[in-house]
């Protein structure tokens, strides 16, 4: 379904300047700089504990930076929290899925929270989305009863709900089987081709074609 969507409107860019974050009186990283334009992917690398997740969370605005700043379209994200979050989809370590809600209920909550371009009452769209993530007949299954991979795919569905140009994905391929991995790769591919941006950490290699991919190794920066 995501293949037929139009390109993202407007210009987007993500700029990070001299970002430094301190944890327990020790600097996690001291001077991170990068700029991301449309149709670009930033692949974050680094050893465990290098601060990849912290950097992703800082980009989302969940963690405050001690030095430096993050700009979306040349405006600091602190000054435009609402507009920025409208353009952001985040898939973190935890799924952000309520175990005790059904697949459909979880999807509805995500739609409302992310100010989805789709209506909550639009059954056709809901079926469409569920179909594309491979959970077609699982609408009324409690998330608790899904496999880890199925939950991860449901969590990923968030990215497909609103017209967010920036995807921040923390290990999106965790727990996924071959089909799941292929689906995520296709989704990211389509997103990038539409003019989107993505910041991704992944231990497994991601196969995305014809995309300008920057690598940033955090262990090297520290």
């Amino acid at each position: 379904m995501f293949k037929s969507l139009p390109a993202y409107t407007g210009s987007q860019s993500l700029t990070v300047k001299h970002l430094a974050i301190e944890k327990q009186d020790r600097w996690l990283f001291k001077d991170v700089n990068f700029e991301l334009q449309p149709k670009e992917v930033l692949h974050l690398e680094g050893e465990n504990g290098a601060g990849k997740t912290t950097l992703l969370r800082a980009i989302c605005g969940l963690t405050l930076a001690d030095k430096g700043d993050i700009f979306w379209n040349d405006i600091s994200i602190q000054r435009q929290a609402y507009d920025y979050h409208l353009q952001l989809s985040y898939l973190g370590h935890s799924d952000g899925i309520k175990q005790d809600l059904t697949v459909l209920e979880n999807l509805r909550v995500s739609m409302v929270l992310s100010r989805s371009i789709y209506k909550v009452s639009d059954k056709a769209i809901l079926h469409d989305i569920l179909d594309s993530i491979g959970l077609k007949n699982k609408e009324n299954t409690l998330a608790f009863n899904l496999s880890a991979g199925q939950r991860r795919r449901l969590a990923f569905a968030r990215c497909l709900l609103n017209d967010s140009a920036l995807w921040v994905l923390d290990e999106p391929l965790t727990a996924l089987d071959i089909k799941g991995v292929a689906f995520i790769e296709q989704a990211i591919q389509a997103h990038i081709e539409r003019g989107g941006l993505a910041v991704i950490t992944s231990h497994q290699p991601l196969k995305i074609k014809n995309v300008r991919c920057t690598r940033l190794n955090l262990s090297a920066v520290a």
Binding site: E22, K23, Q24, D25, R26, L64, D66
Partner: protein, 249 residues
């Protein structure tokens, strides 16, 4: 110009060196004030016609109680600065003021209790002031406990700043409710902790002691803050240069 000064004060090395220069002066003034206040209160002021000499404990008790509230206000103000501008010095002053404020609150409670024994024969009385002070102690202890429970001290400072601000909003509410509560059961008898018209010879030493206490607070908070700052910034250049500079002298 004041804003510039406050801005400079946020820089750890500037704060450290400025406080080094100020401390001797502050200590001198503080000692002087205590000497004047204590002499005025313990020697010069006449004995109270009702309570005799035991009223003199107000020179310890009342300034301590006043200071316990004053320190909370300073703490809340530091909290606002720590939250909005994330100034490290504000964070350090915040948590150290909590410790000092708790001690003064405890002092006020203990001296209040000691004062009560010759008055009513009991070690505690549930009057408005003492009960409010007791609740204030719990507010302080909550701040200290929350701060020590969070490992990341910058995060802990944010948490405690929020708590201090919430506390500041609640203090008038708690105070008023406790006062209303105590008037319901104790009737119109005025407690001796209230200040009826007080002789100037008793009042002046009290005010002197109040100022002396404030200087004491300033000294202790600076000492603690400097220590804290050195530890927090132990990996930085300016701290290292403190040691190399003294060595070269």
């Amino acid at each position: 110009m004041i804003m510039r000064f406050i801005y400079k004060l946020g820089s750890p090395p500037y704060f450290y060196h400025l406080s080094s220069r100020l401390l001797p002066w502050l200590s001198g003034i503080c000692l002087l004030l205590f000497a004047i206040g204590l002499y005025g209160g313990l020697v010069l002021a006449p004995a109270d016609y009702q309570q005799g000499d035991s009223f003199r404990i107000i020179y310890i008790h009342v300034p301590a109680a006043w200071l316990s509230l004053f320190v909370y206000m300073v703490m809340a103000a530091s909290g606002v600065m720590a939250l909005i501008w994330r100034i490290k010095i504000a964070e350090i002053v915040l948590i150290n003021s909590a410790h000092i404020g708790a001690v003064f609150t405890f002092l006020a409670l203990v001296t209040g209790s000691i004062w009560g024994k010759p008055m009513w024969g009991t070690w505690w009385v549930w009057d408005a002031r003492l009960t409010s002070e007791l609740l204030l102690l719990f507010l302080y202890l909550g701040i200290i406990a929350l701060h020590s429970a969070i490992d990341d001290k910058r995060k802990a400072a944010r948490a405690v700043a929020i708590l201090a601000i919430v506390g500041v909003v609640n203090i008038p509410i708690i105070h008023y409710s406790v006062e209303w509560w105590s008037t319901l059961h104790q009737g119109p008898t005025v407690t001796k902790f209230d200040k009826p018209s007080i002789d100037t010879r008793m009042l002046v030493p009290l005010l002197v002691m109040a100022v002396a206490y404030k200087f004491l607070y300033a000294i202790v908070v600076l000492l603690r803050a400097r220590n804290d700052l050195l530890w927090r910034e132990r990996r930085s250049q300016w701290v290292a240069s403190l040691f190399t500079d003294t060595k070269s002298k």
